[in-house]
């Protein structure tokens, strides 16, 4: 194979220079991309999937639904009050609970519990849910999001470290590795 006659020494050097720059750019792009994508590519194990407590189960009388607040497991010092979250805890009987995310399953506004009518109502677009979190009316396509919970030593623990959204309703899927939809 012969080189075309037009490829002079200088043009060749320029192309080599560009190629060299391309390699450097690629090497530079790796840490930059890794940095930008760090919220979704977690190499260090982050704590946001940890169990966190919303307090003793005694503060939730059976048959009632109460607001509980908790501090997120994965916080930085400058988060201020946004590191706190709230959830609705419904104690069905002695050992059965339902822990609902505060966020409406429509677009995430905070729903309010009305014990008299046994309904959750959303102030934004008018989503309404029954006391068991199932959809009653309005724009939501599904019931309220539920956090996984467990009881240990008389305390209620939940996995509430992630904002539940309609596209990610199960909350706390493992982002790394597996497709949530697959």
């Amino acid at each position: 194979m012969t080189l075309p006659e037009t490829l002079s020494r200088r043009a060749m050097l320029m192309k080599l220079g560009l190629l060299f720059n391309g390699v450097v750019a690629l090497a530079l792009a790796v840490p930059i991309l890794r940095y930008v994508l760090s919220p979704i590519l977690r190499s260090r194990k982050t704590s946001y999937t940890d169990w966190l407590t919303v307090g003793s189960i005694d503060q939730f009388p059976a048959g009632q639904t109460r607001l509980a607040t908790f501090r997120n497991p994965d916080v930085s010092q400058w988060d201020g009050k946004t590191a706190d979250s709230a959830c609705w805890v419904r104690r069905i009987n002695e050992n059965a609970f339902q822990v609902f995310a505060i966020n409406c399953a429509h677009l995430g506004c905070p729903v309010r519990w009305f014990p008299q009518s046994g309904l959750f109502m959303c102030p934004c677009h008018g989503g309404v849910y029954y006391e068991d979190g199932s959809r009653a009316s309005g724009p939501p396509e599904r019931g309220l999001f539920e956090y996984p919970y467990k009881i240990e030593d008389g305390k209620l623990f939940i996995k509430g470290g992630e904002l539940p959204t309609p596209g990610n309703p199960t909350a706390l899927i493992t982002i790394k590795g597996k497709l949530p939809c697959a």
Binding site: L37, P39, I40, Y48, L67, T69, N72, D74, V75, S76, Q77, W78, D79, G80, K81, T82, A83, D84, S85, A86, I102, N103, H106, L107, G108, C109, P110, V111, R112, F114, Q116, S117, G118, L119, M121, C122, P123, C124, H125, G126, V128, Y130, E131, A136, S137, G138, P139, E141, G161, E162, L163, T165, P166, G167, N168, I173, I175, L179, P180, C181
Partner: protein, 495 residues
Amino acid sequence: MRLIQNIAAWFDARLQLGAPMRETLEHRVPRDTASWFYVFGSAALTVFALQVVTGILLALVYVPTAGEAWNSLQTLNHSIAFGWYIRALHGWGSNFMVAIVLIHMVQVFLFGAYKFPRELTWIVGVFLLLMTLGMAFSGQVLRFDQDAFWGIGIGASISSRVPVIGPWAVHLLLGGPIIAGATLSRFFALHVFVIPGLLIAFVSLHLLMVLKLGINEWPMPGRIVRKATYEKQYHELTEKDGVPFVPGAIYKDIFFSACILLALMLVAAYFGPFGPSGRPDPTIIQTVPRPDYFFLWIYALLSLLPPQMETPALLIGPVIVILALLLLPFIFGEGEKSWHRRPVAVLSILLIAVALGTFTSLADHAPWSPVMDAWSGDPIPPQYLQHRTALERQGALIFQLKQCRNCHSLGNEGGKRGPALDSVALIQTEDQLIRQVIQGGGNMPAYGKNLSPPEVTALVAFLRTLHPPNQTPAHNASRAVDNEVAPTPTSGKPE
């Protein structure tokens, strides 16, 4: 004077910018374009410049952390001389900017300015509109109050619906699994570095093309744009009937820009800064988040679309709109420019304006939202309680206590989510009312589990009294023999 001239000459010998600048300023434009219709682009640029200046001024004090942003806005509002005014200028400047960009866009659309050879100018303009809206949204986030906090939640919920990559998009948008410090920091970077940088680059391109291709001439009915002949015709027009841009056309731009700035200053001084509303504390749920003015129509749309339409509309709608705007100059790159000969163009603008206006005004009173405190705050009008039996009054009590009022109004007070019930007895028979209350339906929750049979009886007895005087409530004709639902003489509103 001589000294100034010497200094200027010294600089020009080195910079050599004098001649090209003079050439740019004195380039000839068609005489008709020295018009008050051609001032919106320069006004948008003026407001953008003001946004840059006030933005830098705010950044002198603003603290872009989730924990302190809200406090630093309080400091700006209350503790620093004219801090409130700079905030007001920046906030209202944002509204002015969106409005002027939209008006500018309508004007160039109606004047056919997107046609050959200015297709790329239009396309860059479409990106400028998107960036302006991006600035408006990210600016609202930086205000970091309750509205901003839940507004990001809405943004996250929308992004999460993108197929496959949704969950990743949310984490990328929020900078983590929840709305917290990282979220505000990245919106700060977007609002202060990324989008403004792109805006400046795109505005420069936009302006460069206006200069290179010439301002769009005033459209005349019958003067058809053809790719083969347009540039020659335009050149002749500017030669024969042109004026130098400075001062022939620019004086109107200058006057209008000054008027816009003055109006902005007055509005900012009169109405003051936007918020901040309550602290961005996710545990405070007694909040009714509302978007800023230019996003109200989306808020209305999201409430009124049928649930199953929503995700497709949210994800496909913007793509279609943006594609339509980008393809417009390629599909209609030639032909008539004058709005006199483009009825579809004029009607499209009217339709879009009416639709956006309607949605915005609907969102202003949000009839789809339950009124969260109507059950405890709005009493039942007294005339609905006079001359009633004990059972009916008990029903009225249940009506309030079970939050029916949050969605149903009486005497025009209460929620508008469901129908007003002032004359519900005319429409539904007793059996229908009982069924509706117990089973719900038609967007109403079922109350069967939360009302005991006596409560339902009392509630329906009250609802049966809700009809105008002298009009008998609806009754089931097939059961009239049993006299079950014969209207009682005490029912109805007393005169």
